[in-house]
Amino acid sequence: MKIKSRIYNGTLYVLLCGELDEHTSSYTREEMDKAFGSGIFKQIIIDLSELDFMDSTGIGVLIGRYKKMKDRNIPIYICNPSSHAEKIFKMTGLYDIMPKIV
Protein backbone atom coordinates (compact mmCIF):
# COMPACT_ATOMS: atom_id res chain seq x y z
CA MET A 1 0.00 0.00 0.00
CA LYS A 2 1.26 3.46 -0.89
CA ILE A 3 -0.31 6.82 -0.19
CA LYS A 4 0.70 9.91 -2.13
CA SER A 5 -0.59 13.40 -1.43
CA ARG A 6 -0.23 16.96 -2.62
CA ILE A 7 -2.01 20.27 -2.14
CA TYR A 8 -3.05 22.26 -5.19
CA ASN A 9 -5.32 25.32 -5.27
CA GLY A 10 -6.66 24.74 -1.77
CA THR A 11 -7.43 21.05 -2.36
CA LEU A 12 -5.60 18.14 -0.75
CA TYR A 13 -5.33 15.30 -3.27
CA VAL A 14 -4.72 11.86 -1.76
CA LEU A 15 -3.90 8.93 -4.05
CA LEU A 16 -4.34 5.43 -2.60
CA CYS A 17 -2.27 2.77 -4.38
CA GLY A 18 -2.42 -0.99 -3.77
CA GLU A 19 -4.74 -3.10 -1.62
CA LEU A 20 -6.70 -1.74 1.34
CA ASP A 21 -7.61 -4.52 3.78
CA GLU A 22 -7.11 -5.31 7.46
CA HIS A 23 -3.39 -5.80 6.96
CA THR A 24 -2.81 -2.40 5.36
CA SER A 25 -5.47 -0.44 7.26
CA SER A 26 -3.26 0.81 10.13
CA TYR A 27 -0.61 2.13 7.76
CA THR A 28 -3.28 3.71 5.55
CA ARG A 29 -4.85 5.46 8.55
CA GLU A 30 -1.50 6.81 9.73
CA GLU A 31 -0.42 8.06 6.31
CA MET A 32 -3.78 9.66 5.55
CA ASP A 33 -3.81 11.39 8.94
CA LYS A 34 -0.29 12.69 8.29
CA ALA A 35 -1.45 14.11 4.96
CA PHE A 36 -4.62 15.54 6.52
CA GLY A 37 -2.53 17.23 9.21
CA SER A 38 -0.10 18.94 6.87
CA GLY A 39 -0.71 22.21 5.06
CA ILE A 40 -3.79 24.34 4.53
CA PHE A 41 -6.68 23.18 2.32
CA LYS A 42 -10.43 23.60 2.07
CA GLN A 43 -11.39 20.18 0.74
CA ILE A 44 -9.98 16.70 0.21
CA ILE A 45 -10.21 14.54 -2.89
CA ILE A 46 -9.35 10.85 -2.47
CA ASP A 47 -8.28 9.36 -5.79
CA LEU A 48 -8.84 5.59 -6.00
CA SER A 49 -7.63 5.10 -9.58
CA GLU A 50 -4.70 2.99 -8.38
CA LEU A 51 -6.50 1.09 -5.62
CA ASP A 52 -6.50 -2.56 -6.71
CA PHE A 53 -8.61 -4.01 -3.91
CA MET A 54 -10.72 -2.87 -0.99
CA ASP A 55 -13.07 -4.60 1.44
CA SER A 56 -15.27 -3.24 4.24
CA THR A 57 -12.18 -2.54 6.34
CA GLY A 58 -11.52 0.26 3.86
CA ILE A 59 -15.00 1.66 4.55
CA GLY A 60 -14.11 1.82 8.26
CA VAL A 61 -10.89 3.66 7.44
CA LEU A 62 -12.68 6.20 5.23
CA ILE A 63 -15.50 6.80 7.73
CA GLY A 64 -12.88 7.38 10.43
CA ARG A 65 -11.18 10.03 8.29
CA TYR A 66 -14.56 11.61 7.52
CA LYS A 67 -15.31 11.97 11.24
CA LYS A 68 -11.97 13.68 11.84
CA MET A 69 -12.42 16.15 8.99
CA LYS A 70 -16.05 16.81 9.88
CA ASP A 71 -14.83 18.46 13.08
CA ARG A 72 -12.71 20.80 10.92
CA ASN A 73 -15.59 21.35 8.48
CA ILE A 74 -13.52 20.02 5.56
CA PRO A 75 -15.47 17.94 3.01
CA ILE A 76 -14.02 14.77 1.47
CA TYR A 77 -14.80 13.59 -2.05
CA ILE A 78 -14.09 10.30 -3.83
CA CYS A 79 -12.90 10.09 -7.42
CA ASN A 80 -11.99 7.30 -9.86
CA PRO A 81 -13.34 4.31 -7.90
CA SER A 82 -13.20 0.93 -9.64
CA SER A 83 -16.54 -0.71 -10.36
CA HIS A 84 -15.75 -3.03 -7.46
CA ALA A 85 -15.13 -0.16 -5.00
CA GLU A 86 -18.21 1.60 -6.35
CA LYS A 87 -20.33 -1.44 -5.51
CA ILE A 88 -19.10 -1.38 -1.89
CA PHE A 89 -19.59 2.40 -1.60
CA LYS A 90 -23.16 2.19 -2.88
CA MET A 91 -24.19 -0.71 -0.63
CA THR A 92 -22.68 0.90 2.48
CA GLY A 93 -23.99 4.39 1.72
CA LEU A 94 -20.51 5.93 1.83
CA TYR A 95 -21.39 8.33 -0.97
CA ASP A 96 -23.89 9.98 1.38
CA ILE A 97 -20.99 11.40 3.39
CA MET A 98 -18.22 11.36 0.78
CA PRO A 99 -19.79 12.23 -2.58
CA LYS A 100 -18.26 10.97 -5.80
CA ILE A 101 -16.87 13.60 -8.15
CA VAL A 102 -15.87 13.12 -11.78
Binding site: E22, F53, D55, G64, S83, K87, T92
Partner: protein, 153 residues
Protein backbone atom coordinates in the same frame (compact mmCIF):
# COMPACT_ATOMS: atom_id res chain seq x y z
CA UNK B 1 -18.76 -32.91 -17.92
CA UNK B 2 -19.59 -31.58 -14.48
CA UNK B 3 -16.60 -30.13 -12.72
CA UNK B 4 -15.88 -31.44 -9.21
CA UNK B 5 -12.85 -30.32 -7.32
CA UNK B 6 -11.87 -29.07 -3.90
CA UNK B 7 -8.92 -27.71 -1.96
CA UNK B 8 -8.19 -27.01 1.67
CA UNK B 9 -5.54 -24.88 3.24
CA UNK B 10 -4.78 -23.76 6.78
CA UNK B 11 -2.89 -20.65 7.75
CA UNK B 12 -2.11 -18.50 10.76
CA UNK B 13 -4.89 -16.11 11.72
CA UNK B 14 -2.82 -13.10 10.80
CA UNK B 15 -3.90 -10.26 8.54
CA UNK B 16 -0.84 -10.77 6.35
CA UNK B 17 -2.55 -13.95 5.06
CA UNK B 18 -5.66 -12.15 3.81
CA UNK B 19 -4.22 -11.42 0.40
CA UNK B 20 -2.93 -15.01 0.19
CA UNK B 21 -6.44 -16.32 0.90
CA UNK B 22 -7.97 -14.05 -1.75
CA UNK B 23 -5.46 -15.01 -4.43
CA UNK B 24 -5.65 -18.68 -3.48
CA UNK B 25 -9.43 -18.82 -3.93
CA UNK B 26 -9.43 -16.69 -7.08
CA UNK B 27 -6.82 -18.92 -8.72
CA UNK B 28 -8.62 -22.13 -7.75
CA UNK B 29 -11.86 -20.79 -9.29
CA UNK B 30 -10.28 -20.13 -12.69
CA UNK B 31 -11.51 -23.41 -14.27
CA UNK B 32 -15.04 -21.97 -13.94
CA UNK B 33 -13.96 -19.15 -16.25
CA UNK B 34 -15.52 -16.50 -13.96
CA UNK B 35 -15.98 -12.91 -15.08
CA UNK B 36 -13.81 -10.18 -13.57
CA UNK B 37 -16.81 -9.01 -11.55
CA UNK B 38 -17.46 -12.52 -10.22
CA UNK B 39 -13.82 -12.92 -9.19
CA UNK B 40 -13.87 -9.49 -7.48
CA UNK B 41 -17.02 -10.48 -5.60
CA UNK B 42 -15.51 -13.78 -4.47
CA UNK B 43 -12.20 -12.19 -3.41
CA UNK B 44 -14.02 -9.55 -1.39
CA UNK B 45 -16.27 -12.07 0.37
CA UNK B 46 -13.24 -14.23 1.23
CA UNK B 47 -11.42 -11.19 2.55
CA UNK B 48 -14.37 -10.31 4.79
CA UNK B 49 -14.65 -13.83 6.23
CA UNK B 50 -10.91 -14.14 6.85
CA UNK B 51 -10.78 -10.66 8.39
CA UNK B 52 -13.53 -11.65 10.84
CA UNK B 53 -11.51 -14.69 11.92
CA UNK B 54 -8.28 -12.68 12.19
CA UNK B 55 -9.83 -9.82 14.16
CA UNK B 56 -12.37 -11.59 16.36
CA UNK B 57 -11.61 -15.31 16.76
CA UNK B 58 -8.41 -15.33 18.79
CA UNK B 59 -8.25 -12.31 21.15
CA UNK B 60 -5.89 -14.12 23.54
CA UNK B 61 -3.34 -15.49 21.14
CA UNK B 62 -2.61 -16.98 17.78
CA UNK B 63 -4.84 -19.47 16.04
CA UNK B 64 -5.48 -21.10 12.71
CA UNK B 65 -7.93 -20.29 9.92
CA UNK B 66 -9.08 -23.11 7.65
CA UNK B 67 -10.13 -22.32 4.11
CA UNK B 68 -11.95 -24.83 1.94
CA UNK B 69 -13.05 -24.24 -1.63
CA UNK B 70 -15.25 -26.59 -3.64
CA UNK B 71 -16.08 -26.34 -7.30
CA UNK B 72 -19.39 -28.05 -7.95
CA UNK B 73 -20.52 -27.67 -11.53
CA UNK B 74 -20.86 -23.93 -12.03
CA UNK B 75 -20.92 -23.22 -8.29
CA UNK B 76 -18.08 -22.29 -6.00
CA UNK B 77 -18.60 -23.09 -2.31
CA UNK B 78 -16.19 -21.49 0.12
CA UNK B 79 -15.94 -22.17 3.82
CA UNK B 80 -13.79 -20.19 6.24
CA UNK B 81 -13.59 -21.63 9.74
CA UNK B 82 -11.74 -21.06 12.99
CA UNK B 83 -11.57 -22.61 16.46
CA UNK B 84 -11.73 -19.31 18.27
CA UNK B 85 -14.03 -17.80 20.87
CA UNK B 86 -17.14 -17.99 18.71
CA UNK B 87 -19.97 -15.51 18.24
CA UNK B 88 -22.43 -14.86 21.07
CA UNK B 89 -25.33 -13.70 18.95
CA UNK B 90 -25.38 -14.89 15.33
CA UNK B 91 -28.38 -12.76 14.34
CA UNK B 92 -26.81 -9.62 15.76
CA UNK B 93 -23.50 -10.34 14.04
CA UNK B 94 -25.25 -10.33 10.65
CA UNK B 95 -26.87 -6.94 11.16
CA UNK B 96 -25.47 -4.12 9.01
CA UNK B 97 -23.18 -1.70 10.89
CA UNK B 98 -23.02 -3.97 13.95
CA UNK B 99 -19.53 -4.26 15.40
CA UNK B 100 -18.16 -5.42 18.74
CA UNK B 101 -15.17 -3.12 18.29
CA UNK B 102 -16.63 0.35 17.60
CA UNK B 103 -13.49 2.02 18.97
CA UNK B 104 -11.42 0.55 16.13
CA UNK B 105 -13.08 2.35 13.22
CA UNK B 106 -14.76 -0.83 12.00
CA UNK B 107 -17.66 -0.47 9.61
CA UNK B 108 -19.60 -3.53 10.81
CA UNK B 109 -20.43 -4.30 7.17
CA UNK B 110 -18.49 -7.54 6.77
CA UNK B 111 -21.46 -9.92 6.67
CA UNK B 112 -23.53 -7.48 4.61
CA UNK B 113 -20.76 -7.40 2.00
CA UNK B 114 -20.57 -11.20 1.96
CA UNK B 115 -24.34 -11.44 1.56
CA UNK B 116 -24.35 -8.87 -1.23
CA UNK B 117 -21.48 -10.38 -3.21
CA UNK B 118 -22.32 -14.08 -2.83
CA UNK B 119 -25.57 -15.93 -3.60
CA UNK B 120 -25.85 -17.59 -0.19
CA UNK B 121 -24.04 -17.09 3.10
CA UNK B 122 -24.42 -19.34 6.13
CA UNK B 123 -23.01 -18.76 9.57
CA UNK B 124 -22.48 -21.80 11.81
CA UNK B 125 -20.78 -22.96 14.98
CA UNK B 126 -17.60 -24.87 14.23
CA UNK B 127 -17.55 -27.74 16.73
CA UNK B 128 -17.63 -26.83 20.41
CA UNK B 129 -16.56 -23.30 19.71
CA UNK B 130 -15.38 -21.38 16.75
CA UNK B 131 -17.20 -20.16 13.68
CA UNK B 132 -17.67 -21.44 10.16
CA UNK B 133 -18.84 -19.20 7.33
CA UNK B 134 -20.06 -21.02 4.22
CA UNK B 135 -20.64 -19.05 1.04
CA UNK B 136 -21.90 -20.14 -2.37
CA UNK B 137 -21.84 -18.38 -5.70
CA UNK B 138 -22.84 -19.52 -9.16
CA UNK B 139 -20.48 -18.35 -11.89
CA UNK B 140 -22.75 -17.38 -14.76
CA UNK B 141 -20.03 -17.80 -17.39
CA UNK B 142 -19.64 -21.41 -16.33
CA UNK B 143 -23.40 -21.89 -16.69
CA UNK B 144 -23.27 -20.50 -20.22
CA UNK B 145 -20.54 -22.94 -21.17
CA UNK B 146 -22.83 -25.83 -20.25
CA UNK B 147 -20.22 -28.04 -18.71
CA UNK B 148 -17.19 -27.20 -20.79
CA UNK B 149 -14.53 -25.54 -18.73
CA UNK B 150 -11.33 -23.76 -19.60
CA UNK B 151 -8.60 -26.37 -19.67
CA UNK B 152 -11.08 -29.29 -19.62
CA UNK B 153 -12.55 -30.59 -22.82
Amino acid sequence: MKLKNFMEVEFLADSINESFARICVATFCLPLNPSIEEISDIKTAVSEAVTNAVVHAYPNGQGVVKLRVELDGSDVVISVSDNGVGIKNFNKAREPFYTTKPDQERSGMGFSVMETFMDNVGLFKNGEKGVKVVMRKTCRSAVLQEGTYAGRR
